[in-house]
């Protein structure tokens, strides 16, 4: 296999344009879903509730809890797609901590949830798609009774979704019931218009920006490749060097 160097140069520039254009196409696809809808307020029943961001479109996912959250026992939460199955490289992450526990004066102490099998100590949890479960499985332990708040983010294909999360961990023994419900998550599309401005940017703006970026990047690569050649020509093949020994 012989690769011509001019071919390599063209391959580099083409790769730059193709990469940026791919991001453009994917991101624009996600951004196109962002519309202004009012979806405020907590949604859900039982121990788990979510609150989508106001002013965003939402998409529903199925949340299944293996048991009522109880300190000392792990709760298995399975999140699955509703309108379509989850993508194989889906990923969910988030954080949950208790409400402020007053210690002395105004200072607070927080209890953090613990994900089984993780060494993270600040309430972070994350998990990939599990083909066996047909969704993402998160096992969480609750250090104390009380209300836990935080957030959940999900990357599922070209979707970026999130919601504020609230979980009630109660006293007593875990029950045998499973809690399953459909809950809405905000579709971010990485482009939330500021609430103060109210109006989303024009749809063509983002594709145009990425297209301009692709052109600038290709021009930059061309500049980077051509500058050494120009220096070589200017120096007439005689760049500075040590005297030969």
């Amino acid at each position: 296999v012989i690769v011509d160097r001019r071919f390599l140069d063209r391959l580099i520039i083409a790769s730059v344009i193709a990469s940026v254009t791919a991001v453009l196409a994917i991101d624009t696809h996600a951004a196109a879903r962002v519309v202004m809808q009012q979806e405020g307020g907590w949604k859900g029943r039982g121990p788990l509730a979510v609150k989508p961001l106001e002013g965003t479109e939402t998409v529903e996912y199925s949340f299944e809890l293996s048991t009522r959250p109880v300190p000392g026992e792990a709760t298995r939460i399975v999140i699955r797609g509703v309108d379509r199955s989850m993508r194989r490289d889906a990923w969910i992450y988030g954080q949950l901590r208790s409400e402020c526990i007053k210690v002395d004066g105004d200072s607070c102490r927080y209890d953090y949830v613990h994900q089984v099998g993780s060494s993270s100590r600040l309430g972070h949890f994350a998990a990939p798609y599990s083909p066996d479960a047909g969704g993402v499985v998160i096992n969480l332990e609750w250090p104390s009774v009380g209300t836990y708040r935080g957030y959940l983010r999900m990357i599922d294909g070209d979707r970026l979704a999130m919601a504020t999360l609230r979980v009630e961990a109660g006293a007593g023994e875990p029950d045998d019931d499973t809690y399953e419900q459909r809950l809405p998550l905000s579709l971010l599309g990485r482009t939330i218009p500021r609430q103060s401005s109210g109006t989303p940017p024009p749809g063509w703006l983002k594709p145009a920006a990425y297209a301009l970026l692709a052109i600038l990047a290709a021009a930059g690569v061309w500049l980077v490749l051509s500058t050494p050649k120009q220096i070589g020509r200017r120096s007439e093949g005689r760049p500075p060097g040590r005297e030969s020994k």
Binding site: V1, I2, V3, R5, L8, L11, I12, S15, V20, I26, D27, D89, A90, W91, Y93, Q115, S118, S119, S120, R121, L122, H124, F125, A126, A127, P128, Y129, R153, I155, D158, L160, L188, R190, T191, I192, P193, R194, S197, L205, K206, A209, Y210, L213, L216, A217, G220, L223, V224, L225, T227, P228, K229, I231, G232, R234, S235, P239, P240, G241, R242
Partner: protein
Amino acid sequence: MSAILSAVKADSAAASVQTGLAEGADAFYRMPVLMSVVAGSLLQIVGVYWDIAWHIEVGRDKLFSAPHIAILAGIGFVGVSAILALSYGERNPAIKRSATLVLLGVAIQVVALAVVDDWWHRVYGIDATLWSPPHLLTLFAASVALFGFLLGAVYGSASVPRSKSIAVLGIGLANLLILTNVALAEYDFSFPQFRLAYQPVVLGATTIFCLVLAKRIVRRSATATIVAGAFMLLRLAMWPVLGALGRSSRPYFPAAIVAGIVIDLATMRGGSPSDGKKSETVHVAVTSLVATVAFLLAETLFASALEDAFGLPPSPYGMHSFVTGGIPAIVAGTVAGLAGFRLASLVQSVSKETAIW
């Protein structure tokens, strides 16, 4: 300021007369230039990771937040280094071109970050991603600026002691690896905003590109390993730095040293044909492919080990991302290795002293 520049020019001319070399060829090795570049690069690296941790823990508040000021100051220092280099080598076309490239990169960075990015956040809100057009443009412009510095350093390498040129180029190339890996910072902080399959693709491409470039420019037996090791140490240093700045987030850093070792070993074992032969391209392609596979596989183990040892949040750097992104990542790493090889060949063409490296 004009008095300082006049002194710089006189100093440059005197040095050139003494060494008998092209005037100002060593412009990028002068201490003020090196100090400005190092300070500027460190400020930018710390600023970027500080800014992302700030976004995650605090949110984006305003243009002149503390991390943004650190980044802009870093860009300013790099700009100053280019102006100084221009002054040292004002009669040297090669230095002028290299310094101009640095200045162009700096100018685009300033416009992209201080003007376009601020406007972008006002239009699209606080939840924009690191892969937004202004952010990507800033990263790309920073890479162009750093390339200008490397080009000037390669050109002037024969006019300074060999150990100095190797050290400066090594630091510059490690800096390039850090800079290109900034693109993955959201994954590093376990806060990804794009699908996981992209992460091994970008990781493989940026790492193999930089390490092959380093290996071909500084032809020492352990160049790629040392550059990758320096990259990992600098990234690890972000942990105490972010802690000192009041942030609790600790970004993951990839096991790039595995790729470095493979690239060094492939060359040491006599598999690198001499320059100019077509088979050299094939050798680079095979080396890049093997290095990418070894690197990405090692990454899955390293991510798990780091999480267990230091209590990092569960990381998206795992087998699950490589299951979906592994094949494109191996292709990207191989193509990137060839691109690094080609760029190194072009860079080397500005100096006849390649045999010393």
